[in-house]
Each structure stands twice: as C-alpha cells, then as structure tokens.
C-alpha cells in the first residue's frame, strides 16, 4: 500500500525541511512531455521566433532565480562568489549538475571582448526529443536554459544577457553570456585588491 504522508493541521511549508541533496529526480519522459506542452502552448501565443525565445527564457528565469540560495545552503561551506570566473565555474559544475544531472561541457572566454563568455553544452536536456523544422532552423528550446543562467547571474549581481544558439551541425548549444561593463570593472578592481 502506498504510504500517504498526511499533513498535520498546522504544518506549513516553513515547518518542512528544505528539499535535500539526495536527488529527487524527475523522469525524463515526464519532463519531456511537460516541456513539449510548454513549448506548444507558447508557440500558439507568439508571432515570431524571437518572442518564443523570450517566453521560454522568462520561464527559465523562474528556475534560475530560485536556484541561487538553495544551492548556496546545500553547500557544505556556504559562501558568495564575488568573481566572474568562479561564478561561471559554479554554474558549469554545480548548477548544471543539479538541474540536468551532468556538468556543462566547456566554458570559454571570447577572444575579441573580455565581457563575453561561452558555455557549451553538447546535449541540452531540453533539446533531447526536439526536432526543429528546417524553415525555423534558428529556433532553439535551450532559450529556456539561457533564461535560467541569466536569472542566476543577475540574481547574484552579475548583470548580463544570455543568448542560446546552435553550433556545429546543430547539435551543440552555445550560451553566449555578455556581462555589463560594471561587472568587468568590478572584477578588475577586485583582482587589483587581491
């Protein structure tokens, strides 16, 4: 018989412990089904691909913002990251692992401008069962993940824009992270004071 956990009369969400590290994983097919419905729902409510990207990113922002503090207290020694590279590593490793069960594949800095970084993911979870029609080849569901990353970085006060696009025969997704100038300036100042 399935054990039903009955809620006590006065118990609120504040009496329960935080969702723990021991992964409460969601079935991939369940996730894919839900996500496909999300995409279809939004697709009917937009007139352009850019709008669809924006809508998916908005949903991702909800996730990103809520991950910040949760991941911070799950850490054995909670701390705030103050440097750009450290926070990007944190995203590549910890955030990706929690959300997608694996680390992001590569992290690179653009050679032309110091404010731009690229995060590469070879098989984005959200794209696993997605096939994009030829006439909309610039569409990428990973806009959802870009929104997550953006909300995370903006939340920890590294304001930036994040864009997702496909590279290499449409399999790998790159997330282009462009920080605002103030972030770069602050990072330089912290570097100098070290």
């Amino acid at each position: 018989m399935a054990a039903v956990r009955r809620q006590k009369a006065n118990e609120t969400v504040f009496d329960k412990s935080l969702p723990s590290k021991s992964k409460p994983e969601v079935n991939i097919s369940t996730f894919a089904f839900l996500f496909s419905e999300v995409v279809q729902y939004n697709q009917q409510r937009v007139t352009s691909l850019a709008q669809l990207h924006e809508k998916l990113a908005d949903l991702g922002r909800h996730v990103g913002f809520r991950m910040i503090d949760l991941l911070c207290v799950r850490d054995r020694a909670p701390k705030r990251e103050t440097r750009i590279v450290n926070i990007l590593w944190f995203i590549q490793k910890t955030v990706w692992k929690t959300l997608f069960g694996k680390e992001a594949d590569r992290l690179e800095q653009a050679t032309a401008t110091e404010a731009t970084y690229y995060l590469f993911e070879d098989e984005p979870l959200v794209n696993k069962f997605v096939s994009v029609p030829k006439e909309q080849s610039s569409f990428n569901c990973a806009a959802f993940m870009a929104g997550t990353v953006e909300a995370f970085l903006c939340g920890v006060q590294f304001p930036c824009r994040v864009k997702a696009f496909l590279v290499k025969e449409q399999t790998t997704t790159a997330f282009e992270i462009t920080f605002e100038d103030s972030v770069i300036e602050r990072d330089k100042r912290l570097e100098a004071n070290k």
């Binding site: 935080l18 910040i68 503090d69 949760l70 991941l71 911070c72 207290v73 705030r80 103050t82 006060q157």
Partner: protein
C-alpha cells in the same frame, strides 16, 4: 531596547520588516524610534555594499554604528541584505549569526514558492511568525 530586523532587496527596497523590540514605551516615542531604525538601516546600506564584495562570507558582522545603535549584516548568495539594527541588549555575535542562518532557511522556503515574484515584499504571515520564533530562540527579540 532596540531590535529591528529588515531584509533589503536589489533596488534597496524592503522585502520584509519586523520590529523585535519590546513595545512598552508610549505611542509617540515608539513611532519616532521606529523611524530612526529604518533611517539607520538605510544609511548603512552603502557600507554593506562595500563590505559584501570584500569577502565571500555571508555573515558580515557589525557594519555600522549610530550612537548606541549597532547594525549587523548578512548577505545571501542572491544578494539580499539582512540587517539587524540593535543595541547592546542583544547579546553576542554568535547568536545573531545563528538567527540570520535560521532566517535564511525560512527565506529560501518563502521564495521557492512559485507564486512569489522576485524582489517583492514577503507578505506571508506564517513566515513572519516563524521569524519571530527564531528571534526569540536566539535571544534577538527583546
């Protein structure tokens, strides 16, 4: 006898406010004391912003003083600033740190609510009650 707790958001807006002082003094004085607490908390924000990039620690200890009032700060990973304006009747840095840590956990539970809009006031009564309980537990409420 002062103890005033506030959570300050990204646009220097209050996310949550709670007066933890015993309210035995009469109306008028009480009112101006409350305003002073807000004023002192607001004035310390610049110092908190300066201190928070100097270290990666969440708990920043005492950041500012105004006459007998002491401002102790805690900055979360999401850059929410927890401030406690208090005088020497609140005992010990360690109990304040423990209070902040407990509130941080409650705060996370509050913002994990999918209906909560980031950077807006937390109106939950349950949250307020819980903060009062942990404040009493750590001797931060007077």
């Amino acid at each position: 006898m002062t103890s005033y707790f506030v959570i300050v958001g990204h646009q220097d807006n209050p996310i949550f406010e709670l007066d933890l002082s015993r309210t035995q003094d009469s109306g008028g004085a009480n009112e101006s004391r409350r305003h002073l607490n807000q004023f002192v908390a607001h004035a310390s924000l610049d110092l908190v912003d300066e201190a928070k990039w100097q270290s990666g620690a969440l708990y920043l200890k005492t950041v500012d003083r105004f006459n007998e009032l002491i401002v102790t700060a805690f900055v979360t990973a999401s850059q929410m600033r927890f401030l406690l304006v208090h005088d020497s009747s609140v005992r010990g840095q360690e109990s304040i740190r423990a209070f902040f840590n407990d509130v941080y956990e409650l705060f996370i539970k509050a913002i994990l609510n999918p209906f909560y809009v980031p950077n807006t006031y937390i109106v939950s009564n349950n949250f307020k009650k819980k903060v009062q309980i942990v404040a009493k537990k750590h001797g931060v409420a007077l």
